[in-house]
């Protein structure tokens, strides 16, 4: 067969386009199906009431609150630790053997399956620290799970601040910490928040890490302290999809839709904050 550059170009374009469609189509379908099947369930009662009749009726309010508590707690724990660790790695221990070991550990931590985090949380927080099966244990477990995401994003954000800015600040007699505090950190905040957004999404969707550490099968009341169990949306979805017979389909899809909307809402807030900081960035 004779070589025909025009035809081979067309074939290449076709496969490139196909690859893109394969990305867009499933995302579109997921959204369409969940919205179509879940939207009828979306009433004020559904998001503000306790579940009734063995979760076959009523609302999912405690699961929404539970997920918000868990994700909030995880971020509250992971964001400061992650940012501080990233600062140390980038600014203080750039070329030491210690930093290489830590960087390797972070990469590996990111690859650990989430169910392993669940078991780890059970052993450390629930049993050893005696926090019991509680919001505290669950939030800490989720926090450890999203730590690598936050550290990696924060490191990239810190490294993207031009080194020349650091030299200018130091050359004016500022100390290293003053330089980090006044020049590096303010310019790294948008990137750090991107990491927080990714972590948020991951923490709100995971089921395995909260399975052993916090999630309640059925608990139609709100928690009164961090040592209480709570329901959480992903686990609730699993329960009503597989463990409880005869749950109306629209309740299942409604729950999935609420979880999606909740993640979307939390991401939007973080993106708004990030854009506010980006506007101040001027180079």
């Amino acid at each position: 067969m004779k070589k025909n550059p025009e035809r081979s170009q067309k074939i290449a374009f076709f496969f490139l386009l196909l690859a893109n469609l394969l990305i867009v189509v499933p995302v579109g379908l997921i959204i369409v199906i969940i919205v179509a099947k879940g939207f009828p369930a979306l009433t004020w009662e559904f998001i503000s009431q306790m579940p009734r009749q063995g979760m076959r009726a009523g609302g999912i309010f405690p699961a929404i609150i539970g997920t918000i508590y868990l994700v909030g707690g995880a971020i509250l724990f992971a964001l400061p630790i992650g940012v501080l660790a990233a600062i140390y790695l980038c600014e203080y221990a750039t070329h030491s053997r210690m930093s290489r070991v830590v960087k390797l550990a972070i990469v590996n931590l990111a690859g650990v399956p989430s169910v392993v985090y669940g078991l780890f949380g059970l052993a450390l927080f629930v049993v050893f620290c005696k926090f019991g099966v509680s919001i505290l244990s669950g939030a800490l477990t989720l926090g450890i799970m999203i730590l690598p995401i936050i550290i990696t994003a924060s490191r990239e954000a810190l490294e993207s601040v031009p080194p020349a800015f650091r030299e200018v600040s130091l050359s004016l007699g500022a100390s290293k910490w003053q330089t980090i505090r006044n020049i590096v950190l303010p310019n790294a905040i948008p990137g750090i928040l991107t990491g927080a957004i990714l972590g948020l999404g991951r923490a709100s969707g995971e089921t395995a890490p909260i399975l052993f550490t916090v999630a309640a099968f059925y608990l139609p009341r709100l928690p009164s302290s961090v040592f209480d169990q709570v329901m959480a949306l992903p686990y609730h979805l699993y329960v009503i999809s597989t463990q409880v017979p005869n749950v109306d389909e629209k309740i299942r899809y409604g729950t999935a839709l609420v979880l999606l909307l909740l993640v979307l809402f939390m991401n939007s807030v973080a993106i708004l904050i990030r854009n506010k900081f980006r506007k101040q960035k001027r180079w």
């Binding site: 050359s171 004016l172 007699g173 303010p186």
Partner: protein
């Protein structure tokens, strides 16, 4: 009077031997031009004086540097850098307003009062011949200034810390001739109060502003002398070849 006394200075980055035994005295209130081809070690020499090289991985050194007779290598590095300002090759405003750029150093050294900062900023901008051009837009971003204005802003930012020595690392390499002339004019006036060290790739600039000129080649100081001597009767053949444009 001798401001800086550098003795047998060797610098390595990893395996690369960048400075090979440089000994040089720099006098108070002079402009010392440092010329030489690329990779001759002139910027490394400059960055030894405010000890910025220490930030680089693989940095090693040998030799002695004294500032006003006292060992500058054992001095507290932040105090040392406060005494030795630096203007970099590219205009490098910090991502702040014009005012905050100039006030940055003073703020880092604990000056908080607005009235005092305003005084410092105005004086520094006047000394850098920038005040009249920016006085109405101090709160706006420094990135809106032209390249030449940005470089004079960087000079003002350095002056605001009230240093004794100012290091210029090819300060006009990114500027047009008119901006260059303004920066040079500022340097000539600054000489009355400060000691200036100017690393430049522009031989003519060294001839225009330098009281003395030092010629570096492959990490060695070939010769240093009064600028008119260097440019008329250089002692070394290599100096003559370089300033005549035969290499570099």
């Amino acid at each position: 009077m001798v401001k800086f006394s550098v003795k047998k200075l060797h610098v390595w980055f990893g395996a690369a031997h960048i400075l090979r035994g440089v000994s040089l005295d720099i006098l108070s209130n002079e402009i010392l031009s440092v010329i030489g081809p690329a990779n001759s070690g002139k910027t490394t020499f400059l960055r030894m004086l405010n000890r910025l090289n220490e930030l680089e991985p693989g940095f090693r050194m040998n030799g002695a540097i004294a500032l006003d007779g006292a060992d500058s290598l054992s001095e507290d590095v932040e105090r040392l850098r406060k005494r030795i300002g630096m203007v970099f090759a590219m205009p490098l405003p910090l991502p702040l307003s014009i005012f905050d750029n100039v006030a940055y150093g003073a703020r880092m050294h604990g000056i908080r009062k607005t009235a005092r900062l305003q005084g410092i900023v105005e004086q520094a901008l006047r000394e850098a011949y920038l005040w009249d051009e920016v006085k109405d837009r101090l709160p706006t971003s420094a990135f809106n200034l032209s390249g030449g204005q940005q470089q004079r802003l960087c000079i003002a930012r350095t002056l605001a810390v009230q240093p004794e020595v100012i290091l210029f690392d090819e300060p006009c390499s990114g500027l047009d001739p008119i901006s260059t002339a303004k920066v040079e004019e500022a340097m000539l006036k600054l000489k009355r109060q400060y000691t200036l060290i100017l690393v430049t790739n522009n031989v003519k600039q060294a001839a225009r502003v330098g009281d003395r000129t030092a010629f570096f080649l492959n990490g060695e100081l070939i010769e240093v002398n009064k600028t008119d001597k260097i440019f008329t009767v250089p002692a070394d053949k290599r100096t003559e070849d370089y300033i005549r444009g035969k290499f570099g």
